[in-house]
Amino acid sequence: MSGPPGGTGSPTEWLERALLLPESERSVFVENAPETIRGELDDALSTYIQASAYLDRLARDLHLPSMTPVTAPRPHLVGSELAHFRILDHIGDGGMGAVYRAEDTRLGRTVALKLLTGIDAPGRERFLREAQSASALDHPNVCTIYEIGEEGGHAWISMACYEGTTLRGLIDRGPLDVDSALDIAEQAARGLGAAHAKGIVHRDIKPENLMVLPDGRVVILDFGLAKGAAHATMTQVGTVMGTAAYMSPEQASGHRVDHRTDIWSLGSILYEMLAGERPFPGAYPQAILYGIMNTDPEPLSGRRAGLPLQLVDIVDCTLQKEPANRFSSLNDMVDAIAAVRSRAAARSEVRGRVTAESVGVTAESVGVAAEPVGAPPSGADETGVLHLLCVDDEPELELLMQQRFRRKIRAGEWKFIFALDGQDALNKLEAHPETGVILTDLNMPRMDGLTLLSRLAALDRPLRTVVVSAYGDLEKIRTAMNRGAFDFVTKPIDFKDLETTIEKAAADLDAYRRALRGQNQAVSIHQEMDVARRIQDATLPVSFPDGTFGFSSPASEINSTFYDAFDAGAGRTALILGEVRGRSVTSTLLLTMGQTFLKGLLQQGVELSRAVSMLNHMLFADDLPSVSLQLVAVIVDSASGAVSYLSAGHQDPWVVRALGDVDTLDGSGPPIWEDTASSWSVQAATLGPGDALVLPSAGCVRATDRAGQAFSVERLAATLRDTTDLRPTAIIRSALRAIGEFADGAPQREDLTLVAMQREA
């Protein structure tokens, strides 16, 4: 131990001695200092580290020479052998030592070898102890540690060697698309959560420490630096933690840290992935640290428009100064991210980028545009020519396409352009706005196909991408589909199959473009509507109880609907569907409030008519402009099939009998929020085994075709009667399909919303 003799001395003397030690040994040194000065020493050391970093940075910016002595040169290890490793090359310098790529000569595999050089016994012991605890983590999102050992004065750790890019590299290319950002954050959260469960806090989570592999997997590096949570102190700030930018406030101010410091850091990274900038910018560490401790970040929603509200909330929740106000565990954060992702998937289902497997319905197929789209359809080619962009680094694809599809080319049906990699493809797209369908390889130099897909999604252009890949790449294909690929074909290419796939993509694109045109003819949409839509979106259900389903295809400004299906306790299931005239932030907020209120009451077992009366009074109690609220609510007892229902000025619910009959349940209560004295009565019906119940919004019946004719109750009845599959997803799909075929691309002004359930047969 290298403390002052006899363990005495002023804090300044202790500090000087601490500064003489290698950075990795300082924390042990501080822990061995007398109790009376340890706090002061800790503080002085961290202040010194920040101060010297600041002066160095300023010197660099002023083009002055650095005053920090250059650290001892790395020993020339490349080419040499250590234990059973042959050191191949130097990969980088981590917090506690250099990292090399090495060959494990015993097992014949390539590993990443981390070496700690020139360190004394206690420091080495701690290093190995930490590595040992990290090696206990067996998780796909945590770097795998193979072996730990010592040889010739070097403590070493051999780890899995990953080929990929760090998240820093991705962020430096610009903000990530929401899905990729969420995917990366969720994976990192899972890995960190596993570490926390074993009492290991990383304490240095930053984009440089997150590796993104080509298959999309995220691996957290540098767990060797984590200290056991119980020993966490400030001593290593600035030494181990090169980057101040991702430090939590408690870490920056030198307080004790626990697992929640990692939650903050991960939140900072998520913010940066989405905004393209760190939450606490600053040219100097001092400014950054000040920001972290004292200021609120610029709201994420202001940095990037159109983010789901819950996502903004997640980031907010991680960036709380007070650890107690953050997520209490990463599991909670994972759950929150997963909820946003499944909602985002549901939304892109509506948007038609991904085939909605659950319902098989896309907005295109019902002939409405799902949401306001700012940009005009840029790719529309009025002459009927399909413009294809082929992206492959192998020139043979070009020749094959030209040869196999020469008839189409000669007939002027298809036109090809070619690009050599993702970057080239983006450039070509810029020059060819008429491009509709893209065929892309996945493995390419410069920019691969997966990155290209992410970039395409960010372009927000009507495009359909077909991935061309080898069978072995199933994992990549899955990732590609998640990133919005329309379909895929495998190599060797079956050209008949490829032709069909391209035609399918082109048809899908046509439907989408028609919908867009419809949208553009509609009244221009105020930005407020987008806010309203997002509020509404955030409260619509993501998952449904067994045997129920709901779907909404929001249209335009005329109305807004809400729907829900939930377990009302005591073996009962509740379905509600409501709508208000006019879509504004106010009406949407009230609708949302009403929905939550009603759901809460019903779940507490409040009787249906009483719950609706209470909702009516609650709405009147608020001094707000009155909007008439129409609602239908149904409660079904699963065991007996007994139905109690209530209609408040809304379309009646439909019952589709297993035997083929279709009828409506008549109800006739007044709309809510018209009169405080209104009252409602509950009516009863029975659902037989296998019978289905469908609640359509008024927009379903009033959907219009090009001639302005309404779909009508009769057509809806006929559709339901013709439906043989009464499962809720199937019944909703067939209704939306019928409406879509009827509308034939005509713009719709009302939400198409349906909730359905089927009693077990």
Partner: protein, 205 residues
């Protein structure tokens, strides 16, 4: 003040002033400072012209060359002893600090859109000091002004610590050179340097 080329520097005079400074004559500094300031700035300007706007300034070499020019070759000139060289370096570090300060002030004044004040300590007729220094961002200039203010406050608390910062940061001097220039031991300089950084950081916060 005549331009640097208008008159050959008087080695003997500079040496005399350095010696006077060594005996604690503060007025010697007032006479010596403008000479060193102009010499350094002229050398810096030549250096910048040679290396472009982004290269790191080799302040150590700059100061040494200025010393050779003003005092005599390698300190072997008439008064070129080791002590006067040390004193010279301390003055040079202060001069460098002011060159930077003047530039930072001009830079921020320009950005504010106001008139360029004659901020040079030496002579308002001199050319823009920015032509002598590598490019500086506005943020760096502003930060430099903050540091200078903090350094002034540090000087009122602990003069020696502030001079250590001057030598190390602006003069690019080693611990040993700083010790010689300030007439103290390397151990003391080391401690001062550590404590000065901590004190500066706290003054800045």
């Amino acid at each position: 003040m005549p331009g640097p080329d208008a008159q050959r520097p008087d080695h003997a005079n500079v040496t005399m002033l350095l010696n006077a400074l060594g005996t604690g004559n503060r007025r010697a500094l007032d006479e010596l400072f403008p000479v060193v300031y102009n010499e350094l700035r002229e050398r810096a300007r030549q250096e910048r012209r040679r290396l472009g706007g982004h290269a790191t300034m080799n302040t150590t070499a700059l100061v040494h060359e200025a010393y050779v020019k003003l005092v005599g070759a390698d300190g072997t000139g008439p008064g070129g002893n080791w002590a006067s060289r040390a004193h010279f370096y301390a003055v040079a570090a202060k001069a460098m600090r002011h060159i930077f300060l003047d530039y930072a002030k001009r830079k921020t004044a320009l950005k504010r859109g106001g008139n360029i004040e004659p901020v040079s300590l030496v002579d308002a007729t001199h050319t823009d000091p920015s032509t002598a220094l590598p490019d500086m961002t506005l943020e760096a200039a502003q930060e430099l002004l903050r540091l200078q203010r903090a350094l002034d406050r540090l000087a009122s608390q602990n003069e020696r610590q502030a001079r250590v910062v001057e030598c190390r940061f602006f003069g690019g001097m080693s611990i040993e050179d700083t010790a010689a220039a300030l007439g103290t031991s390397p151990a003391t300089v080391k401690r001062d340097w550590t404590n000065a950084q901590i004190a500066l950081w706290r003054l800045l916060s």
